[in-house]
């Protein structure tokens, strides 16, 4: 496991240069606008805008597509099952499923420019400036910090199990072995919690986080934020007005 969210956080693009506080706030507004969409034209516009954000962010498309698998699988369930089960008939179901699928795709695409164009710890600092409770942000940062070490540890334990001839299968033995493996990981983590905390205190941790990044909101930030906000408003407008003019 790599800190993949940070993989393209240091590129240079108009979105990378956007103030992270504004970036999170305006893309959140765009997500809310997309959630408000009801019809197919609105959903398609949302998808087009989301593709535009990803394009502007210069995050490689191949990387983005590879990460969509889980969401596409989940959304496909609606696309396939709604036509079969919709009380108003298969056409209504297909339309509903398609709107859900396209909206979902647009929203997951928006996450890449929203959080993929800022280093993770800077995003978290921005969240805390946006009045997300300090304790929650602290917990996210600590959890993130230890993920990679534990991932390494789990790999080691799994390798040890394989070296002793463990082959996962559909039996109780497998579940018991995996249970021990998970238990072992938890015990190791537990035994480390106290020492990690002592080490943090020894290095002067004062229950506050500092990053060297200072936020600044400039004129280009204002224009870009305004553009994204206007797009969000236009999206809801198009969705509501389309049936009146073309429906």
């Amino acid at each position: 496991m790599h800190p993949e969210i940070d993989r393209f956080a240091y590129l240079s693009s108009p979105l990378h240069r956007l103030d992270p506080r504004a970036k999170i706030a305006v893309f959140a507004a765009f997500l809310v606008a997309t959630a408000l969409v009801r019809g197919l034209p609105g959903a398609l516009l949302a998808l087009a805008l989301a593709v535009l954000w990803v394009g502007v962010s210069r995050i490689p498309l191949g990387f983005v597509l590879r990460r969509l698998k889980a969401v596409v699988l989940f959304l496909s369930a609606f696309l396939v099952l709604l036509p079969l089960t919709h009380p108003a008939g298969w056409q209504a179901g297909l339309l509903r499923g398609a709107v859900i699928f396209i909206k979902g795709l647009a929203m997951v695409l928006t996450v890449f420019p929203m959080f993929g164009t800022t280093p993770f710890h800077t995003s978290m600092k921005a969240l805390s400036r946006l009045h997300v409770p300090e304790r929650l942000v602290a917990m996210i940062l600590f959890t993130y910090r230890y993920l990679f070490g534990f991932a390494e540890e789990v790999r080691t334990v799994q390798q040890a199990a394989r070296a002793r001839g463990f082959k996962p299968g559909n039996n109780r033995r497998t579940l018991a072995t995996l249970g021990n493996l998970i238990g072992l990981t938890l015990v190791r983590a537990y035994e480390r919690t106290e020492r990690i905390y002592q080490a943090m205190l020894a290095r002067g941790f004062k229950h506050k986080f500092g990053t060297l990044h200072e936020f600044s909101f400039t004129w280009p930030d204002a224009w870009k934020s305004l553009g994204i906000l206007l797009a969000a408003v236009a999206l809801v407008g198009v969705d509501r007005l389309w049936p009146k003019f073309f429906g």
Partner: protein, 210 residues
């Protein structure tokens, strides 16, 4: 097991955030700040453990482990699951960003129930106590998560009724697998590190217990 973005109307999303805000606020406010780094280390371990593949029939699944999180972390299981879901949404784009509230309620409330179930079951004395209590906590937490998912979908739109039923049926095998793994882990912890399961008698020794 998450609801992705795009499915729920804004009202369901807002209700999810409101519930998660209240529950996370209540559980986070009570603990001293020193407990947070420790709870976070455990959250991290749970997050990684939940990535382990478990074979199920011809395919394999990831565990949720929300029952186990409840057993080990107690009330802090709720913020732990919130943090886990935030990281999952940001690192892997699993679930959604707007649905983090709903998903946290869906997995976090059953985790708190699992904590209660395990606690009550362990007041009695019987053979394989931790394994049986662990199975109940693990299986029931998945059951309640599935029920919650179904309810949330149905309240979001009547056309989701059939999908909600299907999802609930798909949860039954998951319940058994999670229950068995949870039982194995609980039995392991009872043997190797019993203080991780005790919250009443050794409250001061357990660094992550509130």
């Amino acid at each position: 097991m998450h609801i992705a973005d795009g499915v729920l109307p804004l009202a369901s999303i807002a209700a999810g955030w409101a519930g998660t805000g209240v529950a996370a606020g209540l559980t986070l406010r009570k603990v001293p700040f020193e407990a947070l780094p420790k709870a976070a280390v455990m959250t991290s371990a749970f997050f990684v453990a939940s990535l382990i593949h478990v074979p199920l029939g011809p395919t394999s699944i990831h565990l949720t482990l929300n029952g186990l999180v409840g057993i080990v972390l107690g009330p802090l299981a709720f913020p732990a699951i919130l943090v886990g879901l935030i990281l999952q949404a940001l690192l892997f784009q699993h679930g959604g960003v707007l649905t983090i509230g709903v998903n946290t309620l869906m997995m976090g409330l059953p985790a708190l129930m699992a904590y209660k179930i395990f606690d009550v079951a362990c007041r009695f004395n019987f053979r394989h106590r931790e394994a049986v209590a662990g199975f109940l906590a693990g299986a029931l937490s998945i059951f309640f998560s599935g029920l919650f998912l179904a309810l949330w979908l149905v309240t979001a739109g009547r056309e989701f009724l059939a999908i909600a039923k299907l999802a609930l049926a798909a949860f039954l095998p998951l319940m058994v697998v999670e229950g068995l793994v949870c039982a194995a882990v609980a039995a392991f912890l009872a043997k190797v590190k019993p203080e991780m399961l005790e919250r009443t008698s050794h409250a001061t020794d357990n660094p992550v217990s509130p």
